[in-house]
């Protein structure tokens, strides 16, 4: 199978999953699509030049998406839009109050630094172990634990400021 065919199959098989990771990182549909598109193009170029295809295409592309996310966030100085507002906000005391809490947690995730967000997405969305995240980000495992810990602490603070139930937080 040549590279074009391989990439075609990979996008058909893993495209949705990569875009979901991109969306978790950026909280923005267009930005997520740009991220994955740019990662695909970079990988296409790299593999074509190098002549060797990765053994695990999904892991390879996910790494490219994460790297692209961190690279573009380093370059970007402006603030980003965190999330679209819900079309109709339910009252806080209603049975749908939990939706509010979740919206605050989602917004708090968007407030974290790019590396903290990447670590939390890889750990809690992709289910990677800290060692795997460290290998992917090119840092030590202790750094991953530190980023995750600081990210969670910041989220607790942001969520509590927004009135989300924080009892029982450890």
């Amino acid at each position: 199978m040549d590279l074009d065919e391989a990439l075609t199959v990979v996008v058909a098989r893993d495209g949705d999953r990569l875009l979901r990771v991109g969306f978790q990182l950026t909280h923005d549909r267009a930005a997520a699509q740009d991220l994955v598109q740019e990662a695909l193009l970079r990988v296409y170029s790299t593999v074509r030049r190098g002549g060797r295809e990765p053994r695990d295409w999904y892991a390879y592309l996910r790494r490219a998406v994460i790297n692209e996310f961190l690279r573009t966030r380093r370059l970007r100085s402006g603030a980003e839009v965190v999330a679209d507002p819900l079309p109709e906000a339910p009252p806080a005391e209603s049975a749908e109050g939990r939706v509010d809490d979740r919206a605050e947690v989602w917004a708090a995730l968007g407030e974290l630094s790019a590396r903290q967000r990447a670590v939390l997405v890889l750990r809690y969305y992709e289910g990677l172990r800290d060692g795997e995240i460290a290998a992917l980000l090119g840092c030590r495992e202790a750094s991953v634990r530190s980023l995750a810990s600081r990210g969670l602490a910041a989220m607790r603070q942001l969520a509590m400021l927004a009135g989300v139930a924080g009892e029982g937080a450890t």
Binding site: A12, G15, D16, L19, E96, V121, Y125, M155
Partner: protein
């Protein structure tokens, strides 16, 4: 695991269905190769800023990647990737020979990835509707049934060579009614779609008008309904391949069924308002009950249209208690298809007409229940 960690995992999962789909990505990659009129200015500016468009070396493999990946569009339901490329390549097919004739002839080949049309609408508007609200002087239906020589990437047979064609001798008014009212696919609207499974039959419907105008419409029969229907300028997620299949066999476009569908269909205008004006009946479909009323439901229409709405993702996430009422509301009109609105008490966004969604149904559910009690 702490509460925030647990909540974080749930929140991430909650937002899964908001992510763009691979079809969106394929569309963007295909657009990188598409002609100016099909190119999103926003994306063009973005790519230009990043220098993608201007660098020859990079643009070459960008094009190559786009072309390769566009092939996969048929597998995952891209509305545009193949259609745009096909539309550009085949503009002379079929129609070239028929400019002096009232009747169009079918192209010998379906030359692109569906939805492909041999030419964009000419001499008549094709941007506001799939086909004008005007009876054509002639209509031809072309069938491209699967053959052994063409397969998609999943290995399933795809129709590319013309296998049947028929000039329609009847049902032209029904044809207009079916095509003219189909809802528009909104820009960027995600279509949840499984990989195309099973054989894929393509159909072209050619319409010629007294003014000399011509429109070709592509519609595709596939097991998962992944492929859109389009005239090249207007695309809809609705599908008329079953009617086209019948028409190519009988020479008549079939009359629309006069039964309540409770869930299928859609109507032009539902992209801008949940229930377009002019509805004359409402059928409420619940688990065990189907009720139709012809009056007293305009308050419900007004309440639905007053909700803040956004582009539909055609999905919802169940929330506790994970059970409750689900209603399918079917608003009928004197002409053209009904509008279907799903209303749920536990799945959010709770209201969805396949083009627009509104988050909460708490003002709508009491009205529905009141109407069911009264009828």
């Amino acid at each position: 695991m702490s509460d925030i960690e647990e909540l974080l995992g749930q929140v991430m999962a909650d937002h899964d269905d908001e992510a763009p789909r691979a079809a969106d990505l394929l569309r963007a990659l295909a657009a990188a190769e598409a002609p100016a009129e099909t190119w999103s200015w926003r994306r063009r500016r973005r790519l230009a800023v990043r220098g993608l468009a201007g660098r020859a070396g990079r643009a070459r493999w960008l094009t190559s990647a786009a072309a390769a990946i566009a092939v996969a569009a048929v597998m995952i339901g891209s509305a545009w990737a193949g259609g745009l490329i096909g539309g550009r390549n085949g503009t002379r097919t079929g129609i070239h020979h028929t400019t002096r004739l009232a009747e169009l002839t079918c192209p010998a080949k379906y030359r692109g990835v569906a939805p492909w049309v041999p030419a964009r609408p000419a001499g008549i508007g094709g941007r506001s509707r799939l086909a004008p609200l005007r009876t054509p002087i002639s209509a031809v239906v072309c069938g491209y049934l699967p053959n052994l020589r063409h397969k998609n990437l999943a290995g399933h047979l795809v129709g590319h060579a013309l296998t049947r064609q028929r000039q329609l001798t009847g049902g032209l008014a029904a044809l207009v009614g079916d095509l003219a009212w189909l809802p528009r696919l909104l820009p960027g609207q995600p279509i949840p779609c499984l990989t195309v499974l099973g054989p894929q039959s393509n159909y072209l419907i050619g319409l010629a008008y007294r003014s000399g105008g011509r429109i070709w419409v592509s519609t595709t029969a596939d097991a998962t309904g992944c492929v859109m229907t389009s005239n090249g300028d207007f695309t809809t997620f609705a599908n008329v391949s079953a009617e086209a299949a019948k028409a190519v066999r009988t020479g008549r476009w079939p009359e629309p069924p006069q039964v309540v569908s409770c869930g299928s269909g859609g109507r032009l205008g539902q992209e801008t308002v949940m229930v377009p004006a002019g509805s004359t009946s409402l059928t409420i479909c619940a688990a065990r009950v189907v009720r139709t009323v012809t009056s007293g439901f305009q308050g419900l229409v007004a309440a639905l249209n007053a909700l803040p709405a956004r582009t539909s993702t055609r999905g919802c996430s169940s929330k506790p208690p994970f059970h409750g009422q689900n209603y399918q509301l079917e608003f009928g009109y004197p002409q053209g298809p009904a509008v279907q609105v799903r209303v749920s008490s536990y799945c959010y966004p709770a209201i969805d007409n396949l083009s627009l969604q509104a988050y909460s149904a708490k003002t709508i559910l009491p009205l529905i229940e009141q109407m069911l009690r009264a009828s």
